[in-house]
Each structure stands twice: as C-alpha cells, then as structure tokens.
Symmetry: C2
Amino acid sequence: MINVAVLGYGTIGSGVVKVLQTNVESIARNAGEEIVVKRILDLRDFPDDPNNKLVVHDYKMIEEDEDIQIVVECMGGIRPAYTFVKTALEQGRSVATSNKELVAKHGAELIAIAREKNCNFLFEASVGGGIPLIRPLNSSLCGDVIEEITGILNGTTNYMLTKMNEEGLAFDDVLKEAQEKGYAELHPEADVEGYDACRKIAILTSLVTGKQVDFEDIHTEGISQINADDFRYAKALNCGIKLLARSWKKDDVFYAMVAPIMVEHNHPLYSIRDVFNAVHVHGNMVGDIMFYGRGAGMLPTASAVVSDVVESVHDHNVNQRLFWSSEKLKLGSLARCEGRFFVRMDKDVSKEVIEEAFGRVEYVSVEGIEEVAFVTDVMTEGAYYQAAGTVGHVIGMIRMNHK
Amino acid sequence: MINVAVLGYGTIGSGVVKVLQTNVESIARNAGEEIVVKRILDLRDFPDDPNNKLVVHDYKMIEEDEDIQIVVECMGGIRPAYTFVKTALEQGRSVATSNKELVAKHGAELIAIAREKNCNFLFEASVGGGIPLIRPLNSSLCGDVIEEITGILNGTTNYMLTKMNEEGLAFDDVLKEAQEKGYAELHPEADVEGYDACRKIAILTSLVTGKQVDFEDIHTEGISQINADDFRYAKALNCGIKLLARSWKKDDVFYAMVAPIMVEHNHPLYSIRDVFNAVHVHGNMVGDIMFYGRGAGMLPTASAVVSDVVESVHDHNVNQRLFWSSEKLKLGSLARCEGRFFVRMDKDVSKEVIEEAFGRVEYVSVEGIEEVAFVTDVMTEGAYYQAAGTVGHVIGMIRMNHK
C-alpha cells in the first residue's frame, strides 16, 4: 500500500482525491499496489466532505509522517508550495504537481534534487491539463529531435476566440460571458494577456532543449486587441484566429513567442474549439503530430496528476530521465524571424506608399470596413516593424501561420 | 554501448537504422548510452548501402552473438518473425516491433515471456505509426478507465476518402491513384476492406481491457461500397465519411467494429485528412482526448520503433506494465448496440412503408439523385436490420457517428 499526501484541497486537489478513490481498482492494477490518500493539507475544514478526517492544517504533520511515500502538490503559486515540494523531494519522496508557476520557475532545481535523491518530480498536469504531453514528449519522441512546438495552451482564450469567431461577438462581451461561466477569472490578465500560455511554452521548451527557458524572455501578446473586424478579415482569408504559444529551432537557435495568429483552415489547429487545448509538435523523423484534449478542469487535470502518481509508484526508486538543467537558454531575436503579416491601416494610406515600404502585398477587403488591409509577402519581423514604422497609421497586425 | 540487431531491411527496418544513425547524439542522451546497429538480417544484399557490411542472411548469426542486447523486428507477417522474436525474448533480449499481425495474434504470449524473462516486448509502431499511442494509453492514462477508442487507423483509406470527398471522384479512380502513388498496394484488400484497421483496434482493445481480443471476432466493413453519391449525401448532412475502427464499453461489456461512419463536421475526427491517422479516446476522468499524426511511412514508423528501443535501454531489466493476458475477451453482440442509420432506398419505396418499419426518420435529398434517403432515429442494430429486411430495396447504409 502506498500512502499519498495531497497539498491543497481546491479544484485540482479534490479532483485528485476523487480520481484515486473512484478508479481505485484499475489504478491499483496499473500501479501494482493500492494507492491511498492518507493526508490532505488545507487551511480550511470541509465538514460536509467524508475526506475531512484526512485534513490537516500544518505541513509538519505530513513531513513527519514516515508512512507517506508520495506528495501531490495542487496549491498553486510559488510560496509555500516551493518549500513543501523541496522538503518532500529532499526526504526522497516523489512529488506530482499541477503547478505551472512552480515548474516554470524552479523546475530545473527540483528535477536535480529528485535525481540526487533517486525519486521523481513529475508535472504532466502543469501543461495541457489532461492531455498526455510531457511524458510522450519525453519518452515516445525520444528518437526524434523536436524542431517545433505550437500549442493552443489556454482554454479560456480559446473559448473566447471561438465565441468571437462563431457568434461575431465583441471581446468585452465574450469576456463577460466567460467570467459568468467560470472559465475566466475576475482579473483575467493571466489568461487574456497570454501569461499562462507563456509559462506553459517555457516549460515545454525547457524540456525539449534541456535548458532553462525563462518565461520573462518570451515575447508575449494576448488577445485583448483582437476585435470582431479581425474575425471578418480572417474569414475572408479562410483562416481562424488562435492564441498560439510556439517555440521552434532554426539554424540551431531556439525562438519562442505567444501571440494571436491567423491559422489557415486546413491546419489541424484550426478546428480546435471551445476550451479544448492542442499541441502540435514537429520532430525531424516523426514529422507532424498533435495532442488534443481538455487543457483544464478538475477531473482531466487530476487524471494527469494521478498518472504521475502511478508512475512514481511503478518506478519507485527509479529516476525518470528529465533533461532540464539550470543552464539558461538564450532565445534568438524575433527580429530575424521570417513570416507573413496581416496588416490593417487607415483607409487614406495609398497603395503606392504601402508597396514602397512592404514590397509585394495581397490586399484583403471586407464589405463595410473602410480600411486598407493586406497580407505581406514573407519578410523578417525586423523588416516588418521598420516598414510599419515608416508608413504609420497601423490599426492592427496579426501574424499569419508560417509553414 | 548497446548493440541492436534489426530484422528485415525493408522500408521500416532501413528507417530504423536511419533514425538511429541520424539522431545518434540525442538518442544517446535520452537512452543514457550509445545505441549501435550491429547486425541487419535480410535475405538480400545491399551493395550500394554503407550498412551492407552489417547484413547477415542467417538468424543464427544474431541469436548466437552475445553482444546483442535488443532486437528490432520489422519483417512483417507471422513466420518467421514469431519464431525469431520468441527466441530473442527467451534469451532475455528486449524486442521492439512494428508488426501488427504478430502483435495482434501473439501479443499476449510474447508479453508473458518478456515478463518472465524480465525484458520487454514493445510495439508502439504497430498501431498509428509514429503517433505516440500505446505508451500514453498505458502510462499517461493509467488513472482513467478507458471507455471508448475511436480511430482513423488506416492512412490509405483515409487518403482515398479524402480524395472522394474533396474531388468527387469514384472509388475505382481514387484506388488507382492511390496505387500509383504507392499508398495502396496492388492487392489492396487489407486496407480497403478494413482488415488492417481491424488488427489495430484489436491490439488497442486488448491493451485497454487486459484480455485477448481476436480480430476475427470484430465486425469489419471496408470502404469499397462507398461511392460518390454517398459523399453528396454526407455534404447535405454536414458530415464526412471516415473509416472508423472503434471499441467501447457499455454496461461492462466491450463492443468493437470497423466500418465507414458519417462523422459530423464539429467532431475532431472530421478534419483528419489525407494519409493522417488519429485516435480519439474517452476516459472516465480525462474526458475526450485525441492523438494525431502520420500513421505510416518510413521515418514516422521508425521513430516509434526507436522510442521503444530507447525505452528498453533505459528500463534495462525492468519489465513494463503491459496487461494483456491470453484470456479471451468476449465481445458483445452489435445487435444490441444503439445508433442512428443513414439509409438509401429505391425511389419507389413509399414514405408510409418506411415510417411503418423505421418509425420517425429525417429525409435527406440531393439534387439529381432519384432515391429515398433518410436518417433513422436512435435504434438498435438488430432493429435496423429487421426494419431494412422488412422494407427491402436498400441501396446502401452508413452508420451515423454516435454521441
């Protein structure tokens, strides 16, 4: 029998307890041993919950309980989660976490401690919720060199963009609806400004490159500037607009960005709707593959945490291969990256001026919108910003999905 | 250093050698040791290939070479692959194979031998080519009870159906084109009659249930009866037609079938085009997830084989948890399964007769096709066949994708 302590009894933590208690038989079969929740750490009491008898308010009760072999961390945030996780790993206990802030900031250090102590620090649930992603990247694609990762990694913004696309709604109205449904928070910046997706692509890029990618280094744009007219243009271009988190290798340099992107209708990411997440990966041997599923929610995320718990039981005292050193990865400058750009300008900018600055472009028009809009030829980001600065009068720009 | 022998130097076998030799550094990093191809078994010689010096014609040369730790089997078929693989496992050597016939027929036995000998029999490449599928099902979803698997598991037929859908071509013309492109074989029955997809869903269902699913027990229909008119009806219904291999659990009984299915436009499998494969999985906790990628081809399939080789090196002397006993799974009778049916009948069958037999139906008409066509309400397969037998004059039937 394996005893687990769950830190944090919020949405994910209570989901983990529910999964472990609902699928108890199949989990025992997979793990080779029964897995029991022995302690739950939370400041609150839950008098109506049959698991309330397991709740403790002081981490010492867990730290000093020698029967506990695995710690599940679902508190979120850095403090005190970081201290608790580090303590557990130093005691040789494996830790499974859903906490992307913790992983993005301290992943390299915590992996190193786990390796030293011959236990595991696993975080499948920190990116893409229930979608198997970190383990497949790490083990199923270990014959490949991963050259690109492009993901819809935030369900809230994908829900909002889907609504804007399909119902022609304005950003503010969709945000309000998402808040009412509980998909978006009262302070929605982490989602709508792309910060959440940014932490997730930082984690994936660290795993793929084996080096520390600091999320602060990743160019991040959110969707708050996207409006209903953008979607009318997108339709005219046979595209959808998706908030993509992406990193890719070119000439042995890695680049990364989070931004709204025009995705063509025949791309697999085009049809990812609502709160679903998807991650598209390109390996030098396997080619294009994609993983799709619920990127958030109690049970899907808890399912991923539990898969890490089972892995920890099965591989007791076997450290998983996770290559993520604390050596910092220097990302390449986006100014050198090539792509095509969809640009909206004031209607009084002449085509002559545009073509003088941007070279050959393809114009797009939508009935009732009095602007000049066009898609550039392939050019570098640097050249785009220079041309846009020269002409001025830019209403908006959205990058086209590159090939 | 780990020495590998590759059995069969055809498309997949030479792909495995290429992947191992191209990504040698990253593979060594992932495996923790350098992996070297020491021997290749093939009846032929390859004088223009730098690896020709590794080629042997007699399996004894591999069997008796004590430096070989891992055997890769890419010969296909049952004999002599089965004998070679069994011998290797009994010697305690791990085996990675891409051979779906072998896995479908002898998987349970070979897994049992590997367990006894503390080595591994791994077959990620046998289903879905390069798509990480078997390992995620087995380890990432180990907290879930898998309730349904629905896959586009055959790239050839998906390519043909995509062409028929997008270009309005007839079955025979598309088959000819697929043969010219090398996607379909001269004797294409294994693909177009669904036999290939059937073996693959048998393997996945065996893994999920832990019992032996004999592919002969799975009701299998191919696509040779699908014609251009069916696609015109599909468009009218806002559907695509896909050859789906599916197994699902209802009231603790497993059912399985391979058949062309009308898939609604908002289902994730609708947008899987060309030779791509995708597998949609429903777990009781994680909900719906999907895996997508190239289901065939030299390098994608070889990438999957190599991931098994790396796993074998990393987990040397640790047997993977694969639950697949030789106990036979009794599949439920499809007659009891419920669904909706799209039916085409001679134009002189009256609506009165149809509604008398089928109850409430929704009629579909397409300009220029003089038939009566309709979609039934939800009914069992048994009730459908009874009604269809009573009315007669059925031109064609395609199942609708169930919810």
